[in-house]
């Protein structure tokens, strides 16, 4: 029996009559369920999937729209006349009846010409019991059965009257993990044998993927996508679907497409033909990574989970929206990570043994290449899929196949429904809720750092205005520690955001404008600092080893100190967030660099980066840092003079 839902909408009135606040549980739902198939309604809780099921069953009436079973309009039909069987989430077996009585109950209700003789009823009941393999429990009460057996009795009760449509409402959620696996096979088997159109509601994507012919993914009462499980997994229509399917979940990065190249962070990771330049989310399935020492995407290793057949490489990346990037790699490649110094795709800069392991991991960079068909791009605004390369052709072929099978492809094309705090928060990397004390301390910290910085900006402004008209001679500016701090803050404020990065080259051409812009940038940076601090606590950030950080600026051309800032600041800034030990390291690093006057700007930045971030926590630090930087500054200033 084909089931067709036409423009089904269900609106629940608010409980509070004064507030005219309605809840749209199901919104304009159109779906055609082909005859004899097992279809899963899948979605997070509260997405309206159970409501949809109850509307099909007739226990709830749709606010608008029509439901057809075959060609019959059953919208106004009461549940008993629809010829459905429904298995409830907790089975609703009558506790006072034996299994047999439970199974007989629907038959005894039949009236008129449908009325069965006693023998017929018993034969039908025993047939149903045989189908679900519970014949030996016929005289027991439901309370004397295990969860799985109860579940099967519930299915038998639903099947015994030979329904046209079988509805299952999260039937496996009360079972333990092992039984769940077994029972879902059972349901699949029963459905195959009876060939009854079955609609199955679940929030467990794995369950849905494993047993259904088609899945219907819903969010907030709207169909997101329909299709065969594998198709939906391979070819999700939007970011929600991509994130909902798959365990472990898809890794999502922020990125951009420029000139047919896909960038994650600063790294160009993939060629994407035929895609316009835009901001995007990049979803990469865990199995879409290839370890490669010359890989284009680099992440920082945090751990390796061994799972037998596969290993799962856990790493972090700044652009990732997930806290960690999880990639699944065949265990055969294990050696590539753990052992080999040669041919390894991992930069080993620290020894990986014993207690040092974790710390070592922090500093290890893993590089990956990506499998193009496992990389999914979504527009940042609409979160709709952006197809590139062969993907569009594959997508069109899939739709054609689905239509050939009589299952219309449905997807959601409009703007995605969002919960108030759904996506926006994620984009700004939410700090986990802290307890009130921590927040209070953060607040106080913030106050202190703000005060300090406004004071600084005030007097630096004065200096600026003095020095502005002539080309700025940095030697005239008192090379105080504050000053350095301030410039570092500017760079920090600017570097992460692309727009300011765009501005940067102009500023970089000569040092003067940049210094002038410092006060304004300072104001921005103050609140940002707080944020950054909280982020750093919640989320492991890619942290380069200080030594490495030190080396890089050294390699960078010494001629353009400002430009160099933009490229390298991120790293010192992040190191600054590290614990005091690294802070110490960086200060010592400063000292060394101070003597080696070749890379003045970079070192200045670095040290000030630390001090700026650590204003309150490392109250002692700034003092020492200042000392070192003060000395550094003089030489720096001298150097920059020369360059100008």
């Amino acid at each position: 029996m084909k089931v067709v839902l036409q423009n089904i909408t269900k609106i629940f009135a608010s409980r509070n009559k004064k507030v005219k606040d309605e809840v749209i549980a199901v919104n304009d739902f159109n779906l055609e369920i082909p005859d004899g198939k097992l279809v899963c309604l899948l979605g997070p809780s509260g997405c309206g999937k159970s409501t949809t099921l109850y509307m099909i069953s007739g226990l709830q009436e749709p606010s608008s729209g029509k439901i057809f079973f075959g060609d019959d309009d059953v919208t106004k039909l009461s549940p008993e006349n629809r010829g459905i069987g429904l298995v409830f989430q907790n089975y609703a077996l009558y506790p006072h009846m034996t299994v047999q009585q439970n199974i007989l109950f629907p038959l005894q209700n039949l009236k008129g010409e449908n009325k069965l003789s006693k023998e017929e009823m018993l034969t039908r009941a025993s047939e149903a019991a045989k189908l679900v393999q519970i014949e030996e429990f016929m005289d027991r009460k439901p309370s004397e059965l295990s969860g799985g057996q109860q579940q099967r009795v519930a299915i038998a009760r639903a099947l015994v009257k030979m329904p046209r449509v079988l509805l299952l409402d999260e039937p496996l959620s009360n079972l333990d993990a092992r039984l769940r696996l077994q029972t879902r096979e059972e349901i699949r088997r029963i459905q195959r044998r009876t060939q009854i159109t079955t609609i199955f509601v679940t929030h467990d994507q794995e369950e849905a993927m494993s047993i259904s012919d088609y899945i219907v993914i819903m969010k907030l009462g709207v169909i997101m996508q329909t299709g065969k499980p594998q198709w939906v997994y391979d070819d999700p229509a939007n970011l929600f679907v991509a994130k909902f399917l798959g365990a472990p979940p898809i890794n999502v990065f922020t990125g951009k497409v420029e000139n047919g190249k896909l960038y994650i962070g600063e790294e160009c990771v993939l060629d994407v033909d035929g895609v316009e330049d835009q901001e995007v989310y990049v979803g990469i399935r865990p199995e879409g990574f290839i370890l490669d020492k010359n890989g284009k995407l680099s992440t920082t290793l945090t751990g390796i989970d061994v799972m037998g057949r596969d290993i799962s490489v856990v790493s972090t990346c700044e652009s990732s929206l997930n806290p960690v990037v999880r990639s699944i790699i065949s265990a055969d490649e294990m050696g590539n990570i753990a052992g080999g110094s040669s041919g390894s795709s991992v930069d080993h800069t620290a020894s990986a043994d014993g207690a040092e392991q974790e710390k070592a991991n922090e500093d290890v960079t893993v590089k990956f290449n990506l499998k193009p068909h496992k990389v999914l791009i979504f527009n940042k605004e609409t979160e709709q899929r952006v197809y590139f390369g062969d993907q569009l052709a594959a997508h069109e072929q899939m739709i054609a196949e689905m239509e050939a099978e009589g299952q219309g492809y449905v997807t959601h094309n409009g703007p995605l429904p969002r919960e108030a705090d759904d996506v926006d928060k994620k984009a700004t990397a939410p700090a986990p809720k802290k307890n009130i004390f921590v927040r209070a301390i953060d607040g106080i910290k913030g106050l202190f750092s703000k005060k300090k910085e406004t004071a600084v900006s005030a007097d630096s402004k004065a200096e600026m205005t003095e020095n502005a008209p002539p080309a700025v001679d940095e030697a005239h500016v008192e090379p105080t520690a504050e000053n350095i701090e301030q410039t570092a803050a500017v760079v920090e404020a600017m570097a992460p955001s692309p727009e300011s990065a765009a501005n940067e080259p102009a500023a970089a051409t000569d040092a003067a404008p940049e210094v002038q812009s410092a006060p304004e940038a300072e104001q921005q940076s103050a609140p940002e600092d707080e944020q950054a601090a909280t982020v750093s606590e919640s989320e492991p950030v890619a942290v380069e080893e200080p030594v490495a950080a030190e080396e890089k600026p050294a390699k960078a051309p010494a001629k353009k100190p400002a430009a160099k800032k933009t490229t390298t600041t991120k790293k010192p800034a992040t190191t600054a967030k590290k614990t005091t030990t690294t802070a110490k390291k960086s200060t010592t690093a400063k000292k060394t660099t101070a003597t080696a006057a070749k890379k003045p700007a970079a070192t200045a930045k670095k040290s000030t980066g630390t001090t700026a971030k650590k204003t309150t926590t490392t109250a002692k630090k700034p003092a020492t840092a200042k000392k070192s930087t003060a000395t550094t500054k003089k030489s720096t200033a001298a150097k920059t003079d020369k360059k100008d």
């Binding site: 549940p79 429904l86 409830f88 609703a92 629907p106 005894q108 009257k161």
Partner: protein, 321 residues
């Protein structure tokens, strides 16, 4: 360990003392004394004080059992129990189901049904007496005044019935059923609130999904009620029936309320014809016949005990916990 516990045992007894004393004085001793008095033939409290002694024997029980008044009381009590308990339970079940299925005025209706529970039973009995009363009148004359019920009967062209007031001329056995009807109506009405309360509570605890499942299976309303609601409520029903029987055997104040101290229609020669077991016990006490009163009390206890055992036995078979 053992030593300390024995050492501190006196403390435990000290803490228990108030309860033990009260229970001993007001529960244990009265029970023992009742048994003692019932077994002393013709026991009389005043005679006891005068220094008389009584023989040990079962004469009290024999006297009670063979006394016509007692047989009448026992008959009344059994009749009331057998009639009122099923009626009130059924009514309470129907009202509870009805209340449970409406949302709109449930709170208000609940209050109305619960009112008898918080009202004094003697006062209600007197109201009933007023409602059913008929003063004056004889075989030939019209009554001087009638209560609201008889007025209603008259309005429909009926003849006033002597519900609660006996005739001066003498006892008319045909009026016994009229008297009994008033008593039954009163007892049922008075017993409803508690039963409704218990059953409604039980109904609200029944999982709604059973009804959804029944609905999908196309179960008729009656079958849903009989095959699902009643079995699922059976523990509550059993409780209500057992307590109903116990309460019924102890019926007394309703008779006093309606028929007054005489325990039967006024102005009759055969006064105590509506008396109950408890009423008989009180009467015996009033006549300073504590021996017979104790024997009657023990007989009542034995009857209640047996009936409750039967109840429990039946409910073990029929109740689904």
């Amino acid at each position: 360990m053992a030593k300390t516990s024995t050492k501190n045992q006196w403390k435990a007894w000290l803490y228990l003392l108030p309860t033990l004393v009260l229970l001993g004085v007001f529960t244990v001793w009265p029970i023992i004394n009742t048994v003692r008095m019932s077994l002393l033939e013709g026991y009389n409290g005043l005679a006891m004080i005068r220094g008389e002694t009584f023989e040990f024997g079962f004469a009290n029980f024999v006297d009670v059992a063979t006394y016509a008044g007692f047989i009448n009381c026992l008959g009344n009590t059994l009749l009331l129990c057998v009639i009122t308990v099923p009626i009130s339970t059924m009514l309470a079940l129907l009202i509870a189901v009805a209340l449970n299925s409406i949302k709109f005025i449930r709170k208000g209706m609940q209050t109305i049904f619960f009112l008898p529970y918080v009202t004094n039973s003697i006062a209600i009995g007197m109201v009933f007496m007023a409602m059913f009363s008929m003063v004056g009148g004889s075989a030939t004359n019209a009554p001087d005044s009638v209560g609201i019920i008889n007025n209603i009967i008259k309005a429909f062209g009926g003849k006033p019935i002597n519900w609660v007031n006996g005739k001066i001329s003498g006892y008319d056995p045909s009026e016994r059923w009229a008297n009994m009807a008033v008593l039954i109506i009163y007892i049922v009405w008075n017993a409803l609130p508690f039963k409704i309360l218990v059953l409604l509570g039980g109904l609200q605890g029944v999982n709604k999904q059973y009804y959804d499942a029944a609905k999908i299976d196309g179960t008729s309303r009656f079958r849903t009620f009989w095959r699902i609601t009643v079995p699922l409520l059976s523990p509550m029903i059993a409780y209500v029936v057992i307590t109903g029987f116990i309460g019924g055997f102890k019926e007394y104040s309703s008779v006093v309320g309606i028929f007054g101290n005489n325990m039967g229609p006024a102005h009759t020669n055969f006064r105590t014809n509506m008396n109950t077991m408890v009423g008989y016990i009180y009467d015996s006490l009033k006549d300073n016949n504590q021996g017979q009163a104790s024997a009657a009390a023990l007989i009542l206890f034995a009857i209640i005990f047996v009936v409750t055992m039967i109840n429990l036995y039946v409910s073990k078979k029929k109740v689904h916990y």
